[in-house]
């Protein structure tokens, strides 16, 4: 199974979702389970097809029709040049850093009022990750903070 990269793992993940859907659907009453069951099976099949076509060349060559790309295919050819994979690695590193920021922000938002969390996040992120000057960071953080206050102070009376 050559080429089990992130793309392949993602497809397996979706196949897993379909499996979970299928297993759970068996516990529902007949009318309720009908459509989800069909959908889950479909999902598993589709993901299996896609996975095999891209990642298991031995089988994949019979499934050429699945690989047809439409207008805006994201998949780039697997011309494995060294600098390509280096760039990809960089991108992934940056992605994981961003995800960390995102999740951290979301978690903090759950504990601390948004009035504090938002400017804090903006300040830190823009300065540390974005590499901008302190001035820009403070500016954006402050204006967003004030904006939030004005807007959600109105709303604060009713929902948040």
């Amino acid at each position: 199974m050559r080429g089990l990269n992130m793309s392949g793992i993602f497809k397996l993940f979706l196949m897993g979702v379909g499996l979970v859907g299928l297993i759970l659907s068996t516990s529902y009453n007949p009318t309720a389970r009908s459509i989800p069951m069909v959908l889950s099976i479909l999902l598993i099949l589709l993901m299996a097809l896609l996975f095999l076509q891209e990642h298991v060349p031995a089988v994949g060559k019979y499934l050429r029709f699945v690989g047809q790309s439409g207008l805006f295919a994201e998949e780039k050819s697997k011309a494995g040049s060294a600098e390509r994979s280096e760039k990809e690695k960089q991108e992934y590193k940056k992605l994981y850093r961003l995800l960390l920021w995102l999740v951290a922000f979301a978690i903090v938002l759950g504990f601390v009022s948004y009035l504090l969390a938002v400017p804090l996040f903006l300040l830190l992120f823009i300065r540390l990750e974005g590499g901008q000057s302190w001035r820009s960071a403070v500016y954006v953080a402050a204006s967003m903070g004030i904006f939030n206050f004005l807007l959600f102070d109105l709303l604060l009376k009713t929902s948040l």
Binding site: G18, G21, A106, V118, I126, G131
Partner: protein, 502 residues
Amino acid sequence: MQTEILQALSDFLAWPTPLFIILGVLLGTLFGFLPGLGGAQALALLTPVTYGMEVNQAIGMLVGVMGAVPFGGSISAILLNTPGTPQNAATTFDGFPLTQQGKAGYALGASASSSLLGAVFGIVVLMVLLPLGRYVVLAFSYPEYFMMALMGISVIAVVSMGSIWKGLAAGVFGLLLSSVGYDPVTGSLRYTFGTDYLYDGIRIVPALIGLFSISSALELMIKGDSLSSGNKVENVNSGMSKGIIAVFKNFWLFIRCSIIGTVIGIIPGVGGAVSNFLAYGHAVQTTRDKPLFGQGDIRGVIAPQASDTAKDGGAMVPTMIFGIPGSVETAILLGAFILHGLQPGPRLLMENPTVIYIVIFALVFSNIMAGIVGLAGARYLAKLIELPVALIGPMIIALSLVGAYASEGSYHDVILAVVFGILGFFMNKFGFSSVPLVIALVLGGMLQTTFHQTLASTGFQGFFTRPISLGLFILTFVMLIVPFVKARRAAKNNLDQGGESI
């Protein structure tokens, strides 16, 4: 009827009613712009404010909000790839690429004029159809709703940006996700894993925020450019004028999309989230010359916006004629009407027709104002695109998460948005467009419910023995076949010419 219209017009223009309408427009544009907030929140916020006001002023303000939301939402869709409300999702497909090419003004101008004209069209149709409206509303029963949902979902095939198979997979995934929650028709709780939060299913607003705003912000930040990708930004003013005229250049497409929107508005229960995808899909299918969809085709902005605002006019039909709200916003509007002593329903037309005319005037007026306010404000916002992504990216993230939180005051929505944001990012990265997912998520519930309802009422043949249902089915079938045939033909041409695939 003449006297009533004149009476309504004079009531309407009596100061300070126009002031209230303008205030409603401001709030509506703002709430439309902010992801997570929309017409529903603005209306709920304003309802107590209207207590002390006269009926006309109250209606003016509330309808003013409703009219302005679709355009407000298009501003963030175009500039930030972040639909302000679910009904602006399709506007991002071509609106944002235009921004990236430095043509934000062009896109905004087109959105403004198509929104305004779409609303006018919707109202004209409303007035013409008012007597017929009853028939239309009554003619749509379970099989027809099912076919409408099916048609909406088949747009996936048209719009699959990527391989058809991956689009299908994304769609199936979306349909599966739409099964989450308590299903009234089968009376069962599915895929909730014991949580209260998932009882009502996966909420569209935070899911959309994740799939569109957050994931695109992530992409932007990884790519590292400014929003305009280093392209030169053309003069905003001239761009706007060009955009405003663009609607007239594509007049028939505009008319057709307005019709789609109005019809969807008349049918209670099918909302803006559907109309914008259907209109977009229609535009993609019916364009012959030089389609650039997904890369900044202005028709991709005109189509969804026209149908969004036309639907508001159409939505007044079931609301006023039957007292049946077609959406959350009209439901709140209805509640406000009742609070002011009006009883929408068959009686209203007879007892108090001036009210209906006031609603109509308010809708037109609010769209005009929204266009003016929006364009004026957007001129400054369009400068945003020159800012480095390191500033914009986190701002979008912050706005998105706070918007998700504010949408219903639930922290779980924030978590949902983040989850879908990450999901959406990886989906896009590996070639699975999130558009089919969204469409399926929005329509899946209706599809399943009406399927079971049809089986319970008329049995399986109900789908094919009723004229409207059968007609819609055939239409859907044709819609699906056409791109297939087109693709086959194109592939054949390429083979003949001995060229590479596109």
